[in-house]
């Protein structure tokens, strides 16, 4: 197997993110994670939604599908079910995944499809120049909520834990080394892996800045958190305010969706022949 280098993952595309954007930290952590894992580029598919994060597909030289707003997970699910040998990673934004695509998020978790979801969570809609999202803080003032958001933020980590999530983590774009380790573990995990990544939007989110996060976050592993305990993970997921945990909240091995389909366990569907299928037994039933 050829060992890939960071250079192999570069694309000629000009990057159009704002200088200093949190997306750069995620991009670098992801590429480094792929190098660390030693994957074959042809065996990796990345899927992205719509928003600033969506351009990930332009900046990593692996197979990619830049899809629709909110629909990263069903798209990634279809790809993985068609060919289980592929390593499939979905990138979504907070509005993308937690607003437009929340239903898919809920169902992908419980299905435990063997894919990884990385959410660029900047708590604001960036590409549409600054409106509130599902994870915007209550009281947060944006162009669409000039008097402050009047609804509390969703808690994706807690939600994931109560929906039978098997790999639930949170990272910080300002700490790409740590994020890289989370991504490596997430990709290695057999089942649906979810990483919510704090990704400060330096242009539109005046509240949740790099500095804001740095003052608050601490690593779960340093706090000796037991990630095999779902109840404890749930308690941790509600920590917000002065101290906010990052790291792996919870992890368990559970059969994946595909494990429930014994008839397609072996060869990927993409390799099955299409010709010569015998439908006579079916016709017989209809006579």
């Amino acid at each position: 197997m050829n060992v890939i280098t960071l250079k192999d993952l570069n694309t000629p595309e000009k990057n159009t993110w704002c200088p200093g954007c949190g997306n750069f930290g995620i991009l670098s952590a992801f590429k480094n994670a792929l190098v660390e894992l030693g994957v074959e580029r042809e065996q990796v598919v990345i899927v992205s939604g719509i928003g600033c994060h969506g351009k990930m597909v332009n900046h990593v030289n692996v197979n990619g599908f830049h899809g629709l707003h909110g629909r990263v997970l069903p798209l990634a699910t279809g790809i993985k079910l068609a060919n289980q040998d592929l390593t499939v990673i979905g990138f979504a934004g907070d509005a993308d995944c937690y607003d437009e695509g929340w239903d898919h998020f809920a169902h992908a978790i419980r299905r435990n499809i063997d894919i990884t979801l990385i959410v660029h969570d900047n708590m604001i809609l960036g590409l549409t120049t600054g409106q509130t999202t599902a994870t915007s803080q209550e009281g947060f003032k944006t162009k669409s909520t000039p008097f402050g958001s009047i609804t509390p933020a969703l808690n994706p980590v807690a939600h994931s834990l109560v929906s039978h999530g098997t790999f639930v983590a949170r990272g910080f774009a300002g700490d790409p080394k740590h994020l890289q380790s989370l991504i490596v573990e997430a990709i290695k995990h057999r089942g649906f892996s979810f990483i919510d990544v704090f990704q400060p939007c330096i242009t539109f989110n005046y509240l949740n800045t790099f500095q804001w996060f740095r003052q608050r976050i601490y690593r779960l592993e340093e706090a000796k958190h037991d990630y095999t305990d779902r109840q404890k993970a749930l308690e941790k997921s509600f920590e917000w305010g002065d101290r906010i945990p990052v790291g792996i909240f919870y992890r368990e091995e559970r059969p994946t969706y595909r494990d429930g389909l014994p008839h397609v366990k072996g060869t990927p569907l993409t390799k099955l022949p299409l010709e010569g299928l015998d439908i006579v037994p079916l016709l017989e039933e209809m006579m």
Binding site: G54, G78, E275
Partner: protein, 583 residues
């Protein structure tokens, strides 16, 4: 005495197994060499309400139900009150005096024949079975009344149910049969007889089943769908057969998920399909546009029902033609095929996958409730008539000298298609406008070139259809006729029946069935418009959407439009009368 020409209606409450009973009776007829058409009518509820199934049996091919009923099998009182007006003179009613008492006086019909059968009593007291078994007693009674071969019904029961249940049903059928033979003089004027072609086995199946068979045969490996009438039957068919044919059948959280999953599966390189009705297709339309933009081969079955909105959830319509053709924002190529019978459901589904893969675009199979839920008898399908064609599909290894470009601009518009895991190729696609490599682009020149490339595929497909003589239309009836009917989809059955009736009256009409609505077969339709003495468009919608399409493509108006939009199909006599009105 009328032999081998019978229209029988079985009616009762929802939940009483009405459709199943009608189907079993008709299937027994098909096994005796007769032709059958069965249509079910039910409401959007699970218990109560009124359900019925009309089986039309004949020794000639039948394409639809007929306007009248010869034999009414009433499993409740309502069936009689609702359908007595459709009974022909000297028609018969099988009923249970436990439900209602009938007399010529109360019905104000001196001509009708009454066959009270104590179905409930037989089931509860003699058979000691569940009340639902009444249906089978009624079937046995009906077989006795028309003097048909009971062993054929017994055979169907045996093949349909598990052993124990089959035995109970056979006992019930025999009791009903015996009761009629014992208690009623041989005075019913209709007979069904085994025909000489009884050994020639025929299929008796719904459009949903034919679509499913086509998909299985085409090598569809992924079906994602959310239940929605009338396409739910297709989901059930696919799910029942996934293990045998190595398919993944998934019922996701909704239609939006379904279309995106299918897009993912097709991108990864397998044949993938979804199915829904108008409302679900509304939700899919964003995904449809993405499939067009990313040049992804996907097959979508749409089963129309009455709209707008929830409309009449369990009734039929042809109101979505324009919607389907124009679905999703922006401009992109797609194919729309509208089968008119179960055979076309089968063969066109295989073709749909071929066009989807060869031209890397979405193909929509446009059907409706009447087509997908009605049963039709037909000669066994030729499983090898339509071969699998996958187009320029690269798997394994890409050996090109230059870097692989998923959206390479070519003369035909079709780019060689690699799938992820092809060695030496990075496959990148994009719902944003993109360059040949799949990178996002907002460049005006690239935008123009890419739009031209995608749209060119439809021109090339139309050319291939023409060169290979793939029928985009079908023509029925004599060359010379007083009028030409132009129609699409499930109206085919009633139209062909109406043509038979008109012929008997010495009126010759012919009929052009438009099978491919997109790419529209303009030259054929133009030729027909030139030749026809009068043109009549027949459609189950309010605004005659086909007439609009004809106008759009040929700049010509049709002469007459016969439209019906009450959720129910055209009946042949009604249709033939409407045709005569305009002649």
């Amino acid at each position: 005495m009328k032999v081998n020409d019978l229209s029988v209606l079985i009616g009762g409450e929802a939940g009483a197994g009405i459709t199943r009973s009608g189907y079993l009776f008709a299937k027994a007829c098909v096994r005796g060499g007769l032709y059958a058409f069965g249509v079910n009518d039910y409401q959007s509820l699970i218990r109560g309400g009124h359900n019925f199934y009309v089986a039309r049996i004949d020794d000639e091919e039948v394409y639809s139900q007929i306007d009248y009923i010869d034999l009414l099998v009433a499993l409740n009182a309502e069936t009689v009150s609702l359908h007595r007006g459709e009974l022909v003179p000297s028609g018969g009613i099988i009923y249970d005096e436990d439900d209602l008492t009938l007399s010529p006086e109360t019905l104000k019909r001196e001509d009708l024949k009454f066959y009270p059968v104590p179905m409930k009593k037989i089931v509860m007291e003699e058979l000691k079975e569940q009340p639902i078994m009444r249906n089978t007693v009624a079937l046995g009674a009906a077989v006795a009344l028309v003097d048909y071969d009971l062993t054929l019904l017994e055979g169907v029961l045996k093949d349909t149910f598990k052993e124990e249940v089959a035995e109970s049903n056979i006992r019930a059928a025999r009791m009903g049969h015996e009761y009629v033979k014992k208690n009623f003089q041989d005075n019913f004027e209709y007979r069904l007889k085994r025909t000489e072609t009884a050994d020639k086995r025929r299929l008796f199946l719904t459009g949903n089943e034919a679509l499913g068979l086509g998909a299985v045969k085409a090598g569809c490996k992924f079906y994602a769908a959310y239940p929605m009438t009338p396409l739910t039957g297709l989901l059930h068919f696919m799910a029942a057969n996934d293990r045998e044919y190595n398919m993944i059948v998934i019922q996701p959280e909704g239609e939006i998920a379904a279309i995106n999953m299918v897009a993912g599966a097709a991108f990864a390189g397998i044949r993938a399909m979804t199915g829904t009705s108008g409302g679900g297709f509304c939700l899919m339309s964003e995904g449809l546009g993405m499939i067009g933009m990313t040049e992804n081969p996907v097959v979508i079955v749409v089963g129309q029902r009455s709209g707008p909105s929830t409309g009449l959830p369990t009734y039929s319509s042809q109101g979505d033609l324009r919607f389907v053709i124009h679905a999703s924002h922006g401009e992109f190529p797609k194919v729309v095929i509208a089968p008119g019978d179960v055979e076309e459901c089968f063969y066109e589904t295989i073709r749909a996958f071929n066009w989807a893969e060869k031209y890397q675009l979405p193909v929509i199979i446009l059907t409706d409730k009447c087509l997908v839920e009605s049963h039709m008898s037909v000669d066994p399908f030729d499983a090898n008539r339509v071969k699998v064609e996958r187009g320029t599909l690269l798997t394994g290894q890409y050996n090109g000298e230059e870097e692989y470009r998923r959206h390479k601009i070519t003369e035909t518009g079709v780019s060689p298609r690699a799938v992820p895991s092809t060695r030496g190729a990075i496959v990148r696609t994009n719902a944003d406008e993109h360059d040949e490599y799949g990178y996002t682009s907002e460049d005006p020149e690239i935008t123009t070139k890419m739009m031209d490339k995608r749209m060119r595929k439809l021109t090339c497909l139309a050319k291939e259809l023409k060169e290979r003589g793939i029928e985009r239309t079908k023509f029925y009836g004599p060359e010379e006729a007083e009028a030409t009917i132009i129609a699409w989809g499930s109206t085919k059955g009633p139209i062909r029946e109406a043509m038979k009736l008109l012929k008997q009256e010495g009126v010759e009409v012919n009929y052009l069935q438009v099978l491919y609505l997109l790419p529209f077969p303009t030259s054929v339709v133009e030729e027909i418009l030139n030749k026809a003495k009068k043109t009549i468009v027949v459609e189950n919608n309010k605004t005659s959407q086909l007439s609009g399409l004809i106008r759009e493509h040929t700049l010509r108006d049709v002469d007459y439009k016969i439209l019906k939009y009450d959720g129910r199909p055209f009946n042949p006599i009604y249709l033939s009368e409407r045709i005569k009105e305009v002649l």
